[in-house]
């Protein structure tokens, strides 16, 4: 695999391979010195055009634990503010001799463009509303950790699917691994067409909760109410928020997940986020190991993993 742009690039076998590899890196991360020399001499650059503390830190930590050199190119401190194009920035970075570029951009498709401009490997760390493949991989890993397998699980993805790269990647990944996915959202927050999506749709969260093995809540952004997509956040919470009362409808083993950052009190009640069934910090922890697996798959070679 040269790049990781979309979950679709991996296919079911590729996702399985990443998850298997992740297990060994979870083990590495638990060591006293959580570091292996698998990517010694390799350079990984994070090129983030959007603020993202957690994803950037997660990738950088992953690269460092693999002994790769890391560079961080963040927009606020860079020549981007002087009007440099993405292409020129990429060519500049590539000229320094880097092996992988981790790209986050507010516009869908930028990682595809970057991949056309450089020989370095490109990893999509989130592009607009489109995809966020490593988030989906860490979510799959987190579910497997608790439930053993995704096959046959009923997963409800709740909230602003339309504007969510997390949802697009997760729909692909969850269904590849055999889960049944239901999107739960008001019609204004669903994509205009779901043709070809392996999902069911519901506007009734209560009806979904009792049956769900996993409830995956998406972040609700405040500006959606000014775009006439919602009358108010209050009404959203009333219909689609995982409130304390609603959480009682969940089965005993059901997991509550969220990609973060959470709006407590909007899509998820504060108390619910702190329940044992909420594996939100586990998602973050697994994020590092998953990204180690992805970096290793793209930049490493089998022999480097050693014993």
């Amino acid at each position: 695999m040269k790049h990781l742009l979309s979950i679709a690039d991996l296919g079911a076998d590729g996702v399985e391979e990443v998850l298997r590899l992740t297990e060994s890196f979870v083990e590495v991360s638990a060591r006293a010195i959580p570091r292996v020399p698998a990517l010694r001499g390799k350079t990984v650059v994070s090129l983030f055009y959007e603020d993202s503390t957690r994803t950037r830190l997660s990738f950088e930590t992953a690269a460092k634990r693999l002994t790769a050199d890391t560079m961080n190119f963040s927009v606020s401190s860079s020549s981007v503010n002087k009007g440099e194009s993405v292409r020129d920035t990429v060519l500049t970075i590539a000229a320094m001799g880097v092996d992988a570029i981790v790209v986050r951009h507010g516009s869908a498709g930028v990682p595809w463009q970057v991949a056309r401009w450089t020989d370095a490997a490109v990893i999509n760390a989130g592009d607009g509303w489109h995809e966020h493949p490593t988030q989906a991989l860490l979510d799959c890993y987190t579910i497997r950790e608790r439930r053993g397998s995704l096959a046959g699980l009923r997963i409800a993805i709740v909230g602003d699917v339309k504007h969510s790269r997390v949802a697009r990647s997760n729909v692909l990944a969850f269904s590849m691994l055999g889960a049944e996915v239901t999107l739960v959202a008001p019609p204004t927050l669903l994509p205009p067409s779901l043709a070809g999506w392996p999902v069911a749709v519901s506007h009734d969260l209560d009806g979904c909760l009792a049956k769900a093995d996993v409830v995956y809540l998406l972040r609700m952004q405040r500006e959606r109410q000014t775009e006439a997509l919602l009358p108010s956040l209050r009404e959203y919470t009333t219909l689609y928020g995982l409130t304390k009362d609603r959480a009682r409808l969940l089965g005993e083993d059901a997991l509550v997940m969220h990609p973060g950052p959470m709006n407590r009190g909007v899509e998820i009640a504060a108390e619910v986020a702190d329940l044992p069934s909420a594996v939100i910090t586990r998602q973050v922890a697994n994020g590092v190991a998953v990204r180690m697996a992805v970096l290793f798959l793209i930049l490493g070679s089998r022999g480097d993993l050693g014993g």
Binding site: V86, A108, G109, W112, G128, H130, R168, S193
Partner: protein, 428 residues
């Protein structure tokens, strides 16, 4: 007598039919049309063997970018691209910087076009600055020969203003042309709203953004009795509305662009902004409807919507890149390659029908007969060629057809008798 020229061995095709004939040109006009013409030694002979000799093509819709965006195109480079594509006349759109919304700017563009490789005509803006607020001085521009007015690049959103513009224009013998897009519905969109936009996470422009304005303007055509030309229609819904309007004998004409009958929205899936255009590429069902509309006469013309952009603009993220594609050098070959119709049908859509809409009949698109202006194009219908962006005459490279193999190519183009293109090479 000016230099004489003989087109030998071709088949003349015009609105009156087709026949095997040589064409002799002198003093900028057709001097003789006959099955076999002998040429004195002083006459330059251009080989038209196996070719179609047709009235020059007329493009109702080209963005020549001058004044203001000369890095993308100039009138000179755009006209050269046009001539290579077989066009002897193009209508330059007014969304320049500044907009062509006054007699002064019209005069400037006409002056710049005076020595160009094709006839450069001007579409004036309907409203000042194309802002959709106040009428531009249409009579002053019409006095300089402007026959089409449009705010193209955007549609006139205000129905009352559009109504007044149509009423006012009806006294001037000019035609208003509409960029059919409801700004509110299209707001924030960068491709066709549908299966692909949903998957790609790109905000979409719904079909109805086009058809709602078509419905409104058909109604205004009926209300005012003034002619309306609908630019670059791209959806089955809009085309059905035009079909109904024509059945009701309303003065509505319409055009479609080559990319709307040759490409679908699936092309956007690689996120290359070279496939970004407005109206956007649509699904196959709309592509089929455009072809059907061209075949059954609902659509009167193929117009290029030639929209050059510099390389750096087409390397922006998809949702930041400007819409538009090159079209002048590929339109004819795409029509010949992709439309299932005889060459007479293709030429009707690219020559005499648009000439009539542009008010250019008599100079362009007319029958090839003694005394007619020698604005002609010679087309080799069997020539196979591959589109190479670097070899196009446009200053820009944003063709979506790079590497595409096409059948049918312009061999020669004559502008008022002067061979401006010979053997597919521009002569100046």
């Amino acid at each position: 007598m000016a230099a004489e020229l003989l087109l030998r061995g071709g088949t003349v095709v015009d609105a009156s039919g087709s026949r095997r004939a040589d064409v002799l040109v002198a003093d900028g006009v057709v001097a003789a049309v006959n099955e076999r013409l002998d040429a004195p030694a002083s006459v330059r002979v251009l080989d038209a063997g196996g070719c179609v000799v047709a009235p020059g093509l007329v493009d109702l819709h080209a963005h020549l970018r001058q004044p203001g965006r000369e890095e993308a195109e100039t009138i000179e480079s755009g006209a050269r691209a046009a001539a290579l594509g077989g066009f002897t006349a193009v209508v330059a759109m007014p969304n320049t910087e500044p907009a062509i919304d006054s007699a002064g700017t019209v005069r400037e563009v006409l002056d710049l076009g005076a020595g160009a490789c094709c006839d450069v005509r001007v579409a004036g803006a309907i409203t000042k600055g194309r802002r959709g607020e106040e009428l531009a001085p249409m009579a002053e521009m019409a006095a300089l020969g402007v026959r089409i007015f449009t705010d193209d690049g955007s549609g006139v959103q205000d129905a009352r203003l559009m109504r007044r513009a149509l009423e006012y224009a009806s006294a001037l013998g000019v035609r208003l042309a509409q960029h059919c897009e409801d700004d509110e519905l299209a707001e924030g969109g960068h491709m066709h709203e549908g299966d692909w936009s949903s998957r790609l996470g790109i905000p979409g422009i719904p079909t109805e953004a086009e058809s709602m304005m078509v419905a409104r303007d058909v109604a205004l055509a009926e209300l005012t009795g003034a002619p309306v030309h609908l630019l670059h229609l791209s959806t089955a819904m809009a085309i059905a509305m035009v079909r109904a309007a024509k059945a009701a004998k309303l003065a509505v004409t319409a055009e479609a662009a080559p990319h709307h009958f040759t490409l679908t929205d699936e092309a956007v899936s690689a996120y290359d902004p070279v496939f970004k255009v407005n109206p956007p590429l649509r699904p196959q069902s709309d592509v089929d409807a455009v072809k059907a509309g061209l075949a059954d006469g609902t659509l009167d013309a193929i117009a290029t919507d030639h929209a050059p952009h510099p390389q750096e603009a087409k390397e922006l993220p998809f949702d930041q890149a400007p819409p538009g594609m090159l079209g002048l050098e590929t339109a004819l070959a795409l029509a010949m390659s992709e439309l299932i119709m005889p060459i007479e049908g293709v030429l009707a859509l690219l020559s005499w029908q648009p000439a009539r809409i542009a008010g250019l009949s008599g100079q362009h698109g007319g029958p090839i007969a003694e005394g007619a202006p020698a604005n002609l194009t010679v087309i080799d219908p069997a020539a196979v060629w591959v589109v190479e962006p670097g070899r196009l005459a446009s200053r820009s490279r944003n063709t979506p057809y790079a590497g595409r193999k096409l059948t049918g190519r312009v061999r020669h183009t004559l502008l008022r008798g002067e061979p401006v293109v010979v053997d597919a090479e521009a002569q100046r």
